[in-house]
């Protein structure tokens, strides 16, 4: 399903670059011989490669981050016009033009990203649609760009083609004239190959993983310390910059810009290319872009239209554009994951991925000591008089509690008592209305979730949020600090230190998995695990960030008695490492066994707070539970 995040097949590291280089090499040799007969093929290959840079960028948005943008065509237009402008105005060297044409749309992308931070779905689509329309209007009605007369045009520039730009003293000739080798295709093909390599490289890094997390749940991303706002800005502007590069490619191939090309329809087509090919797959846009560009002028489509006219009707028929749209509908029905995606799934069914292929295994002594042994600083959580109201309802009313290091505090209470709300106030889902929250010396209230995560708060959720398609290792890896702090540039260019860090992160993941007892399933995808195992994956993910405070929202819900016993042991080990642990729990057996201190909430207030036995014997607590249902003492409750 589209919500899934496909991961690159595990090839040898050099296999994909080699393949891309090989294909690019063949394409270059094929296209630059200058013979007239192949010129239209060359032009088509050039256009495919130019669009491919843009659709690969769009794939980062649509396939990875889950943002559907109609504006990619607009950014491509900005890049193309900016590039031609540098050529006409300054006669700039190719690389200068390329840089300008990348940066300007990237900045425009920042603008869009800032404007749309809080939007999703239809609102986001609306804004990108407006962006596409406005960009088209500006380009088609702004005098300096020749309006509909084209850019460049005869009356203003004396010619309607740009002079071939130069690259290292080479003239980049467009594929327009027989007998002239189409040297412009060399950089276009190279840029397309680089875009594919960039994409493939990015999605394998923690930075790329963080995009999938944002797509899965922005809330989760925030709680893993990812500044979703900045990361979205980064990915949108990266995609826009790639569209700009695509625009340069377009300008090189056609050497003349007409605004009609860049109307809203281009943006729609680019999205269609990504989804038709298979969004989220590196080869998806390749197939999608090639198919659509080819089909637009394919001789067989023309003969199919003639066949329609002869056999069906010369009025009621579909022409090329209608046929492509029809094909799109058919693909959406038949191959929900696109052409490449469906092929990949078929292949997987025929040849399942071998598990535990590339995971580091833990062979050290004490995983808990590895994670928390040396550096952990015992820290106290102090919640003082916090409140929260929804509309007129006070969900949390003046709640205070303290979690001392090396203790486990449990919050209990009937449904609707405000337990989860307290957790949400601590992790930053909601802003506190009055009161303070402190962790050690740090004030938490007013601080966004991602910063709280970086200050050492880690939590799990009532229903686990995992990326079903990612392996257990990857699901835990996104908890590491690098997901939050790594930069895009750092992700693209590996340095020895970044490699070492990555190895260290993998070791942490292995330790965390060993700690929660999931080492065996490290290579499986998350959706293959039992519910109980999935909860433990979440716990492991929370642990790799080496938190100072661990907040667990009903960790035992849905677990069987054996699993609950194992969970208790894990939590006791963690307590032994000096962690402060706060949990919301219904399983009184578990609470009784591990909680050093129990807080019972009723109707948004702390009713009783003491040790477990005292609280559970308190008449107020008993009647609250009886009034709302029953006091659970057995482990058969399933969420």
């Amino acid at each position: 399903m589209p919500a899934r995040t496909p991961m690159p097949a595990r090839l040898r590291p050099w296999a994909f670059p080699l393949l891309v280089a090989l294909v690019a090499g063949i394409a270059i040799v094929y296209t630059t011989d200058g013979s007239g007969v192949r010129l239209s093929n060359n032009q088509q290959i050039g256009q495919i490669c130019a669009f491919l840079v843009a659709t690969t960028g769009l794939n980062l948005l649509v396939g990875r981050t889950g943002m559907h943008s109609f504006a990619q065509g607009g950014f491509l237009a900005i890049g193309a016009y900016a590039f031609v402008w540098t050529q006409l105005k300054w006669d700039a060297p190719f690389l200068v033009g390329l840089a300008v044409a990348t940066i300007i749309p990237a900045l425009a992308g920042v603008l869009i990203a800032v404007a749309t931070t809080k939007m999703r779905g239809p609102q986001l689509a609306m804004v990108t649609l407006i962006a596409a329309v406005v960009i088209f209007k500006v380009l088609s009605e702004w005098k300096p760009f020749g309006q509909f007369g084209g850019y460049p045009n005869v009356s203003a520039h004396g010619t309607s083609l740009i002079e071939p730009p130069s690259l290292f003293g080479w003239e980049l000739q467009p594929p327009l004239f027989g007998g002239t080798p189409a040297t412009a295709l060399v950089p276009v093909i190279v840029l397309a190959a680089l875009a594919l390599l960039l994409y493939r490289r990015l999605v394998g890094t923690t930075w790329g993983l963080s995009l999938s997390v944002i797509k899965q749940s922005e809330l989760l991303a925030e709680h893993l310390g990812v500044n979703v706002y900045l990361r979205k800005i980064a990915v949108v502007s990266l995609a826009a910059g790639m569209a700009g590069v695509g625009g340069v490619g377009y300008a090189l191939v056609f050497a003349h810009l007409q605004p009609e090309t860049f109307a809203l329809m281009l943006g729609v087509n680019l999205i269609v290319m990504v989804i038709l090919g298979g969004s989220g797959y590196v080869l998806g846009p390749v197939i999608g872009t090639a198919a659509i560009v080819y089909l637009q002028t394919a001789p067989s489509v023309a003969s199919f239209v003639r066949w329609e006219n002869d056999v069906i009707s010369d009025r009621w028929y579909l022409s090329a554009q209608g046929l492509i749209a029809f094909l799109m509908i058919a693909v959406l029905f038949a191959m929900p994951a696109g052409i490449v995606g469906s092929a990949a799934r078929l292949y997987r069914r025929w040849r399942p991925r071998t598990s535990a292929a590339a995971t580091t295994s833990w062979d050290g002594d004490d995983p808990a000591a590895h994670l928390f042994g040396e550096e952990a600083v015992p820290t106290e959580l102090v919640v003082d008089g916090v409140g929260l109201a929804f509309g007129g309802v006070r969900a949390v009313d003046g709640v205070s509690l303290t979690v001392v290091p090396e203790t486990i505090v449990a919050i209990i209470g009937p449904n609707g008592a405000g337990k989860s709300s307290v957790v949400n106030l601590i992790s930053g889902v909601y802003a506190v209305q009055g009161g303070t929250v402190r962790l050690g010396g740090d004030v938490l209230q007013g601080v966004p979730s991602y910063r709280r995560s970086r200050l050492g708060v880690a939590r799990t959720f009532q229903t686990p949020i995992l990326s079903p398609d990612l392996t257990v290792t990857d699901n835990v890896l996104v908890g590491s600090e690098q997901t939050a702090l790594g930069s895009c540039a750092g992700a693209v260019v590996p340095t020895p230190s970044s490699r070492r860090r990555h190895q260290r992160d993998l070791l942490d993941v292995a330790a965390a998995l060993e700690l929660v007892g999931l080492s065996e399933v490290a290579g499986r995808t998350a959706d293959e695990l039992s519910y109980g195992q999935q909860r433990l994956v979440e716990l492991a993910r929370a642990l790799v960030s080496r938190p100072r405070l661990l907040v667990l929202d009903e960790p035992a819900a849905g677990l069987n008695p054996t699993e609950i016993a194992a969970l208790a042991t894990i939590l006791e080990r963690l307590r032994g490492q000096g962690l402060s642990i706060l949990l919301v729990e219904h399983h009184m057996d578990l609470v009784r066994r591990i909680a050093d201190h129990v807080v019972c909430m009723i109707d948004g207030r702390v009713a009783v707070a003491a040790d477990a036995d005292t609280v559970l014997a308190d008449p107020q607590v008993v009647s609250a539970y009886l009034g709302h249902g029953h006091l659970e003492t057995t482990g058969d409750r399933h969420a």
Binding site: K118, R120, P122, V268, V272, W316, L318, Q321, M328, P336
Partner: protein, 290 residues
């Protein structure tokens, strides 16, 4: 300027009606028909075909158009859109299917009907209402009255009747609604039927003013979508107000700044509204649930 406001409001009523269709289907199915403009075009071309049937009075012809297009809308939903109804906000396949539907429809209409404008042939009023301080072309007044009337009726049905209650139940939780015997598929088809039928009437009356042509879809889609989004997407009253608001704003900006800048500013105003209130003007912000 009063003239411009009135004319803008009149066209805005058409945008509002289409926007209500968006809101209605988005509530019940989490999808919107991006082929709405083409649905209107199909209706208008059917109306042109009926224009020859002289014996029928205009309202009957319009009713026939509405019923036929409503059936088409329901069928399109059941066959093409419903398979892509999910709760996953990132799954935008419904959007692509409806966009593709619009491209297929416009292609077939162009090929079969030609790309030229042609007269509607009935339900056309020729003249101007003079209100003393302002003037409104009668056809636009008719358009406004009919669209507004339909819009209010739709909004009342959604907010006041038992059908509306069932729609809301599906909107809030399709699964639970299913448990109490509400068929979310039928509610979805009904929403699409109501939306499409209403659009057909509105678009047909509009083509009485501007002529019938295959490429009219985008002229209606973008403003109506804008109206729906600033109205809050899930609120039928919000869509009604949002559509009219956009119509008036567009007309006024065009009057003040000229066609080129005015059109752009009108769209940027929509962006501004969304930046300030991503949930739209008339919908309540949804609290995150964890």
């Amino acid at each position: 300027m009063v003239d411009q406001i009135l004319v803008g409001a009149a066209i805005g009523c058409l945008y509002a009606l289409i926007a209500q269709g968006f809101a209605l289907t988005f509530r019940t199915t989490h999808t919107m028909n991006f082929a709405s403009g083409e649905i209107g075009a199909i209706g208008a071309f059917i109306a042109v075909g009926l224009a020859g049937a002289g014996a029928l009075p205009a309202p009957v012809k319009l009713a026939v158009v509405a019923v036929v297009v409503a059936l088409i809308g329901a069928a399109l939903f059941a066959v093409l859109i419903r398979p892509f109804v999910t709760n996953d906000g990132h799954d935008a396949r419904w959007l692509l299917v409806t966009v593709a539907m619009s491209l297929v429809a416009v292609d077939v209409l162009r090929n079969s009907q030609g790309t030229q404008h042609r007269p509607l042939g009935f339900a056309q009023l020729d003249g101007v209402f003079s209100l003393g301080f302002a003037q409104v072309p009668q056809q636009l007044a008719l358009l406004a009255v009919v669209c507004l009337g339909l819009g209010v009726v739709i909004a009342l049905v959604v907010t006041r009747t038992s059908l509306g209650v069932r729609m809301r139940a599906v909107a809030e939780d399709a699964e639970t609604a299913g448990l109490v015997g509400i068929d979310s598929r039928r509610i979805g088809m009904l929403s699409y039927a109501i939306g499409s039928g209403a659009i057909a009437i509105g678009a047909t009356l509009w083509t009485g003013y501007v002529g019938v042509f295959p490429d009219m879809g985008p002229l209606l889609l973008v403003p109506a979508f804008a109206g729906a989004v600033i109205g809050g997407l899930v609120s039928v009253w919000g869509a009604l107000v949002g559509g009219i608001l956009y119509g008036v704003a567009d007309q006024l900006f065009t009057y003040w700044l000229g066609t080129a800048a005015g059109g752009v500013i009108g769209l940027l105003a929509v962006v501004a509204v969304l930046v300030l209130r991503p949930e739209g003007l008339f919908a309540r912000r949804q609290e995150v649930k964890v």
